[in-house]
Symmetry: C2
Subunit: 271 residues, 2 copies
Amino acid sequence: MSTFYEKLTGIRAAKKSVLCVGLDPDPEKIPEGYGPDELHLFLEDIIRATADYAIAYKPNLAFFEPLGPKGLEIFAHTVKKIHEHGKGAIVIADAKRGDLGNSASFYAKAFFETYGCDAITVNPYMGFDSVEPFASSEDRGCFILCLTSNPGAIHFEMHGHPPLYQLVAERARVLSQNHQNIGLVVGATRDPALIRRIRGIAPEMPFLIPGVGTQGGDLRAVLEVSGENSLVNASRSIIFAAKRREEVMSTASDEARSLVTQMREILYGKG
Amino acid sequence: MSTFYEKLTGIRAAKKSVLCVGLDPDPEKIPEGYGPDELHLFLEDIIRATADYAIAYKPNLAFFEPLGPKGLEIFAHTVKKIHEHGKGAIVIADAKRGDLGNSASFYAKAFFETYGCDAITVNPYMGFDSVEPFASSEDRGCFILCLTSNPGAIHFEMHGHPPLYQLVAERARVLSQNHQNIGLVVGATRDPALIRRIRGIAPEMPFLIPGVGTQGGDLRAVLEVSGENSLVNASRSIIFAAKRREEVMSTASDEARSLVTQMREILYGKG
């Protein structure tokens, strides 16, 4: 069985990409032409259109849960379709869970066993006994929120000396020495000097990097400090690039290709 | 429309109780006699048996999500049964969500609108822009994780000067000045001196207090410092008090009555 780190390295090498496509299906932004019960078809179109470029897909549970149990069926279906049509891309459940050890084990079971995701995002506020249950399967990844892309990151994540996000990165590195499946969430909108500092603390850990594109993060500035062991997430700029159903696949594919071309140029000096 | 604070005060006065019953239906602990598809009936029995004593029920999503979409149907059913049979008890979704503002709004929609919960637990790691969307309906409560009951609370919640949990309590108090619906999660297993400090920072805010009972928190020590504006959660000691189905209702009722008798004695000097 491959460890999560091995899986990531393999798919990155195969596709020469660090692109993660975020699946945030805000119902108000779904392109025209999909019926009210065709959200799953929209997501399938996005997956098929971007599978040559994406090494990961990151469905965000926030956009499935308001639909009730049916929303979780669409989530389950989407995970399945990524495994079927994603050409080896991994599935990161953007769930940001975190709870007492026993509860955390149940959440891990939900996302890894019930839904078959390859990784999950985890919130470390409650401490590392709330994180460890997500790290117990070597082939399933656990991306720990470290320094996020939103303005409020300054409230608590940067609190203290050393700032909290550094402490989280240090603890995560310790955990990663026993588990080849721990990554960090680091926002692209943050000062590259801070991202460099986190990379210094955690040289071997994959970074999941949201905030490029609509949120304004600079791809080059980020990748130059985070390096190849990264998953750069783009959501809205890819999935909502088209206004109408008949253009969804071509525009999503174009946007993904364009991003990956830039990534290759930045990382390897060629498009 | 009543604010969340008014709802809480009303139900507390009506039942002379601060008991919250935690619904953590670990499948391995369900008493004998319930079939594999009768989890919802077990939860209904608990609700009916304790409705004279509980002012709130706190279903923990961690125990519903591993069952997949069906688990969310059981969750929805449970919320409905609390509204039907709970004699005015409120429903707190123990979901510990927290995400970017837009995603947080979708989570709030899921728990308040789709499932009809009265309150939710929220993780503040990402900052207050990730918390505020949960506070936007005055009649729905938002319990912010502050100082939790698990051992790992020392890792990050106590980091810095002032410690992070104090900063969270202070920010929450500011938010509560505009929204009569903000509470804090404060673990009963913590040093009462720390709980007293949080009460000093947030004299008007309801505390949701897990950790009494199986986790070892001392009811009297906690209530003497947290005071009447509290929701003391007990889960396993009530819901798994019986080994067999035919004893579930009587033992759950006895345990809840016994706890509430102690609460009244501590708070009001009479049983």
